[in-house]
């Protein structure tokens, strides 16, 4: 069921012994203490012989509480937050909590008792808090029932504090660890109640992550780090023009190179070299003569794609995403109309760990070790490529070095499985190069937007038409989710209503529509997804309207937001945090932005200066209302990280297309934000209760428009085409 007992460990010579501080026992004994009791590393808790209390909870005789985690941890901290939710209603001692990961085959075998493992859309916490708290509460009830039976008392006369069950009337007590063995087979009572959020003691606390220590000494085994006896390394290369084909390759030219075992056609568009090490496989792949049939997209460029999207900006036919009144009619007769076009480029996820998967195929069985955000789909991909019955295939979850949506797709799992199938019995670790990862990404979709806004004599917005044109992720990745309105997630943050992300402005005559224009570059779900460009477009154009109306950007928004108190509350908080009511220091300027997405309300306020065309971001304040906060310090980390992701995209993020292929192959041409440019970040977490929103993504969307609006305040220049690196900010 768990990953690590099945995963091979690093066996090569030279590995230093495990550091004493990594052993939970040693740490607890005071050999080295961090002031917090850290859990054992994951592999130390796997393969426990202790029977479970229920699907979520295993308690060992020494009172160690093992909580099963079904969602994927990829840096976002969900693992710890999910464990907090179970632990809260379990009433256990948090310092004794360890974790165990669930493999998708185990989940299937138990009728999906751990529910969805899909990890995306900032959904881990908000999509599972109810059944996790229930799982904890039911485990608590089972343990209390077991103790009450032993004592011959009623369960409801017992209390629990930090894993110690007490019967006050008789003075008896026991611990979860002592009673767990007697709890086997007890069904939970039907009427288990969840705690009132007012009574939470673990949820809402800034506890540290429970999976940190083996990240600090190099001992955590990521997908790329797998090693097993006899293992070979495969590096694939697919046609750089998406949709093109592999025509031919000259294996003989490289087959005598040292270490090379096999050169093979993987599928219609992919060739791979298998060797005994990465470097030998890469050296051979670099030397391999390959002929591509680049197909019909070989002439496509960023310019031709932009022209296609530009046509969509005025195309008569479009899907409608949000409509109120009659925007077109009002615009036609308006006294003053403001117009602007915006654009947002392709971007690569560029996680630090590139794609990999390790597979061992035999005619009887296929076993895969895969870093994935979609375990179920990934297992299906293994089954499909292995050509074996589903029950003969297994997939073990591997830890991930960043993902940001990239591993929601599973094509790399199929590639790895096909390669392994060509080498029966041999474990093959497929690793991508950074260059392959950059060329074969699932890119942030390319879009443009055209605004037409009408202002009345008092500077009110009478009508607004926002036309989106560009790429649909769903039409490529999940076409079965397309609706009569085209791709429903194109309108993230712009919808009329709903819990996911609705527009925070009331505009009497509003039309938001969408002309779908799909270039051949494959799109994917990129952290923040369509909220990112929608927030840039809407928040920058609202700023343009405010300036045209001669009004303060905050005051202008307030009037539009009277019916949207939660949107407004975070905006006010961010503005207050930056000191909106007091003028900035000379040479500095400020900007604000807000949006709702992934169920949460977010806003940002930025303070910048522009000197000789050089932007410096001094401070940025974020305000977030996700309804409930499970771990405030992890929310801080996610919000600060969201700024890095969003500001990287704003300043540098651009993948251009020439001769049908992506031009950027590594970080030297696809730069990202580094420490020297990181502004001071202040996070205001303001959960208002009553709903559950996501945290991992929404703040990304407000990072760029807050800074771009500040850039306008500093320079008078509107940046409408990202990224900023292409824009001259010198004031002439």
């Amino acid at each position: 069921m768990t990953m690590k007992h099945a995963a091979p460990v690093n066996t090569a010579a030279g590995r230093v012994t495990r550091r004493n501080f990594l052993g939970g026992a040693a740490a607890a004994a005071g050999a080295f203490t961090f002031g917090f009791s850290f859990p054992l590393p994951q592999n130390a808790v796997a393969q426990t012989a202790t029977p479970e209390v229920n699907a979520w909870v295993v308690i060992q005789p020494d009172d160690t509480v093992i909580i099963r985690i079904a969602r994927i941890e990829m840096g976002q901290g969900a693992l710890t937050g999910l464990a907090q939710l179970v632990a809260e209603d379990l009433d256990c001692d948090w310092s004794k909590v360890r974790y165990e990961l669930i493999d998708p085959g185990a989940n299937k075998a138990r009728a999906m008792v751990w529910k969805s493992q899909q990890t995306g859309g900032s959904r881990s916490i908000r999509g599972s808090h109810d059944y996790l708290r229930l799982g904890g509460a039911q485990a608590r009830a089972i343990l209390v029932t077991a103790a009450a039976r032993q004592w011959g008392v009623q369960p409801d006369t017992c209390s629990v504090t930090k894993g110690v069950i007490r019967h006050a009337a008789s003075g008896r007590s026991t611990t979860y660890g002592a009673i767990a063995a007697a709890a086997t087979g007890i069904a939970p009572p039907a009427d288990v109640k969840l705690k009132d959020p007012m009574d939470w003691t673990i949820v809402g606390q800034p506890v540290k992550r429970i999976d940190t220590l083996d990240k600090l000494d190099g001992s955590l085994v990521y997908g790329m780090d797998i090693s097993m006896p006899g293992m070979l390394v495969a590096i694939p290369k697919a046609c750089p023009v998406h949709g093109g084909k592999l025509k031919s390759f000259d294996a003989a030219a490289v087959s005598s190179m040292r270490g090379v075992k096999l050169v093979l056609k993987v599928d219609d568009e992919t060739v791979a070299v298998v060797a005994d090490t990465f470097w030998r496989a890469k050296s051979a792949l670099d030397a391999l003569p390959i002929v591509w049939d680049e197909g019909e997209n070989a002439e496509v460029s960023s310019e031709t794609i932009a022209a296609t999207l530009r046509e969509g900006l005025s195309a008569p036919e479009a899907f409608v995403g949000n409509r109120a009144g009659d925007a077109k009619a009002v615009l036609a007769g308006a006294r003053r109309v403001l117009e602007a076009d915006y654009g947002f480029p392709f971007q690569n996820h560029a996680p630090m760990e590139v794609l990999s998967a390790t597979v061992r195929w035999t005619p009887e069985r296929c076993e895969a070790w895969v870093p994935t955000q979609a375990p179920d789909t990934a297992l299906t991909a293994v089954v499909a490529a292995a050509g074996l019955p589903a029950q003969s295939c297994d997939l073990h979850i591997m830890r991930i070095g960043g993902s940001f949506g990239r591993r929601l797709s599973t094509e790399y799992v199929q590639i790895a499985t096909r390669i392994a199938k060509a080498l029966p019995g041999t474990p093959v670790k497929m690793m991508w190069t950074r260059e392959e990862d950059m060329l074969q990404g699932r890119f942030h979709p390319v879009t443009q937007a055209r605004f037409r806004g009408a202002l009345d004599a008092q500077g009110n917005i009478e009508a607004l038409h926002m036309r989106l044109s560009g790429q649909s992720i769903l039409s490529y990745a999940l076409p079965n989710l397309m609706t009569a309105n085209g791709d429903p997630i194109v309108y993230q943050g712009l919808l009329a209503d709903g819990p996911e992300g609705h527009l925070g402005y009331t505009i009497p005559n509003l039309l938001i529509d969408y002309a779908m224009r799909n270039p051949h570059i494959r799109p994917g779900f990129w952290r923040g997804v369509n909220l990112n460009q929608n927030a840039v477009y809407m928040e920058c154009f609202i700023d343009e309207l405010a300036a045209a109306a001669g009004q303060d950007p905050l005051a202008f928004r307030r009037r539009l937001m009277r019916n949207h108190p939660k949107h407004l509350a975070v905006l006010e908080a961010a503005a207050k945090g930056i000191g909106w009511d007091t003028p900035p220091a000379p040479g500095r300027a400020r900007g604000i932005a807000q949006i709702m997405g992934f169920g949460s309300y977010v806003a940002a306020a930025a303070e910048v200066s522009v000197t000789n065309g050089q932007l410096k971001m001094h401070r940025i304040v974020a305000a977030t209302d996700p309804g409930h906060v499970v771990n405030p310090q992890q929310v801080d980390a996610q919000v600060a990280g969201s700024f890095v992701y969003g500001l990287s995209a704003m300043i540098y993020g651009e993948c251009t297309v020439k001769d049908g292929r992506i031009e950027q192959e590594n970080f030297d041409t696809y730069n990202v934000l580094r420490l020297d440019e990181m502004p001071e970040v202040e996070v205001i977490s303001m959960p208002s209760g009553g709903f559950w929103g996501g945290v991992g993504e929404p703040t990304i969307a407000v990072a760029a428009p807050a800074v771009l609006n500040a850039v306008f305040a500093a320079t008078g220049k509107r940046v409408r085409q990202l990224p900023l690196k292409n824009v001259d900010l010198n004031v002439s």
Binding site: G14, K208, F278, R280, A640, F667, L675
Partner: protein, 155 residues
């Protein structure tokens, strides 16, 4: 044949001269704490110490290294007791996915070995490793706290 001193062990390894140190460490020595991120010395995930100096191992061929040069990897850093940077990293919960953090820690440890009276500006300009999760604010706080502790311990 490469002769390398890795974490105090003198090793003879049969690899081609152009093999980057990173892959020798990972695949031949078997120490996988040092990570592949870019292969072109851009991201710093592969940072090791070469005679105490933070060095990106992914673009450094083994033929350029002599047996006298001491290579220290994350597995050798604080092998007896955790390095102050590792300790601070745990206290501040700096890591997110953790993949780049070994490189960050090696870069920070090298910087602080040279100068514990380092300024914010020094840290910002010297630590150029890429983190896509976006841990920079805690990295900065962590290096500063580790610097204070190391300076205090040195009296």
């Amino acid at each position: 044949m490469a002769k390398l001193n890795v974490n105090g062990n003198l090793l003879e390894i049969d690899v081609e001269d152009d093999t980057p140190l990173l892959w020798v460490i990972r695949e031949h020595v078997g120490l996988t704490g040092t990570k592949y991120g870019c292969g072109v010395a851009q991201c710093g995930a592969c940072t090791v110490h070469l005679d105490g100096v933070a060095t990106r191992s992914c673009a450094l061929p083994v033929s350029a290294i002599t047996p006298e040069q001491k290579i220290l990897t994350i597995e050798g850093l604080g092998a007896q007791t955790p390095h102050p940077v590792q300790q601070v990293w745990a206290e501040l919960d700096v890591a997110q996915c953790g993949y780049c953090q070994v490189g960050m820690i090696m870069a920070a440890a090298s910087l602080l070995a040279q100068n514990t009276h380092t300024s914010d500006a020094d840290i910002r300009s010297e630590i150029t490793n890429i983190c896509r999760c976006g841990t920079y604010t805690r990295v900065l706080a962590g290096v500063k706290l580790a610097a204070e502790r190391m300076a205090a311990n040195r009296g």
